[in-house]
């Protein structure tokens, strides 16, 4: 989009148009400041998307009025708080204060620890209120809790194991590998329809059950998931490597 935008601007007569083609990924990699907007924070809260929200103002001031769901770690205490942060370095971490002064400093500290998706909420609490964001008083979360959600359509490893161990009546396990691959072994109760025949064989898949799909690596399972989803099925897929033995025992290897 950068070269195209630059071309359009030049066509309007602008003479000094530069293109930072490496863009945001390179900027973030360097650890340079990144700003997010109150709208983004609102989206995360409303859509219940896991994130970490830190209020870095002094405790007394912060507790009077703050954004719901935040944890208060005053800037002065931040350096010592490293081990309170999640183990996932890709967790979205949003920092705010009143006028961005404290949050910009806090950004540098947290970013230095390797959290690539750190940002400060531009305009802080005021901008938040102007966007119609709610505030509460003295209801800070006691600690940082970050539990990432599996990506849409995927089934968690634990849930998969539970279902395969004792398949409930309303579940249908679909193996979309090639028939040759299934000779080495299949999951108990699974049905094999290779993904490239799936569209023609939808009639063999019950509409009233939840369809749990797997292949060998997750790729064809995702493909099959897309097809079944479009056809109106209630379905999830295993996004992982799985090896199945003759006796139906299996091993899941997550990357």
């Amino acid at each position: 989009m950068t070269p195209s935008s630059a071309r359009r601007a030049e066509a309007l007569g602008y003479t000094n148009v530069k293109q930072f083609v490496d863009g945001i990924p390179e900027w973030k990699k360097q650890g340079y400041p990144v700003a997010s907007t109150p709208k983004y924070l609102k989206d995360l809260i409303e859509k219940d998307i896991p994130h970490v929200l830190i209020d870095v103002r002094p405790a007394e001031k912060a507790k009077q009025e703050h954004i719901p769901g935040a944890v208060n770690i005053p800037l002065a205490d931040l350096e010592k708080a490293k081990n309170l942060f999640p183990k996932q370095k890709n967790a979205p971490i949003l920092i705010y204060c009143d006028l961005d002064k404290l949050s910009q400093q806090a950004f540098d500290i947290v970013r230095k620890w390797g959290y690539i998706n750190t940002s400060y909420v531009v305009g802080g609490l005021n901008a938040w209120k102007q966007t119609g964001g709610q505030v509460v008083s003295d209801q800070f979360k006691k600690q940082i809790v970050y539990v990432p959600k599996p990506k849409p359509g995927t089934i968690g490893e634990e849930e998969f194991k539970k279902i395969v161990g004792k398949p409930p009546k309303n579940v249908f396990i679909l193996d979309v590998r090639d028939p040759e691959e299934t000779q080495m072994g299949m999951l108990k109760g699974a049905k094999n329809i290779p993904v490239n025949e799936l569209k023609d064989r939808l009639g063999e898949i019950p509409k009233d059950k939840e369809i749990i799909i797997h292949c060998a690596t997750g790729m064809r399972a995702e493909m099959a998931y897309n097809i079944l989803k479009e056809a109106g099925y209630n379905t999830k897929f295993l996004d992982a490597n799985i090896q199945i033995r003759k006796d139906g025992k299996y091993k899941i290897i997550k990357e």
Binding site: M1, T2, P3, S4, S5, A6, R8, A9, L12, G13, Y14, T15, N16, V17, K18, Q19, F20, V21, D22, G23, I24, P25, E26, W27, K28, Q30, Y32, P33, V34, A35, S36, T37, K39, Y40, D43, N117, S119, V122, V176, D178, P194, V195, N196, K199, M219, R220, E222, M223, N226, I227, E230
Partner: protein
Amino acid sequence: MKRKRSLLLIVMVFCLTFAFLVSNSISQQKPIIAKSCSLPGCHTAKPNELYGNLKTVSAKAEMIQIDTGALWTVKFDENTKLKNWNQPINKIPKEKEITITYVEKNGELYATLINVKPPVVVDPAKVIKVSEMKKIFDDKKGLIIDCRPPGRYHEGHIPGSINIWYAEFDKHIDKLPQDKNELIVYYCQGPT
């Protein structure tokens, strides 16, 4: 006279029904070109071509799925040609912009050509590296423009930059500087 009129009526009803059926079947068609690409002067859709982002590809199943705003599943085989790509087909990264030329056989689509979008050629004199970008940022010079879709901007942008999504360039010309010699820096999600 009366017979003529009723004949006319029948013809009219027939025409209307036909028009309805045709319009109905067209409205049920899925888009063949991704919305982000259907910009003036960007790309035009040709018959038997799909333009969009790669969703999934499996060499084992010899199938590829493309997102054009709708999902299309297309089969391929060893006769399928690859353009702008010299690695195995399943190494094409997800979300990559591709064009699939296909033929239809027994209600299924078969790819004859998969064209991977090559990197855009830019004049090196107009390109700046991250260090130079940082300097412009520190010096607070010029106007920095994030040309990604708004959602991306909200999620994280270079502080002080404004957002003019490329797809809405025309709507926001008033946001560009008055002085045509003023420095403008564009950035996005990196080369695609």
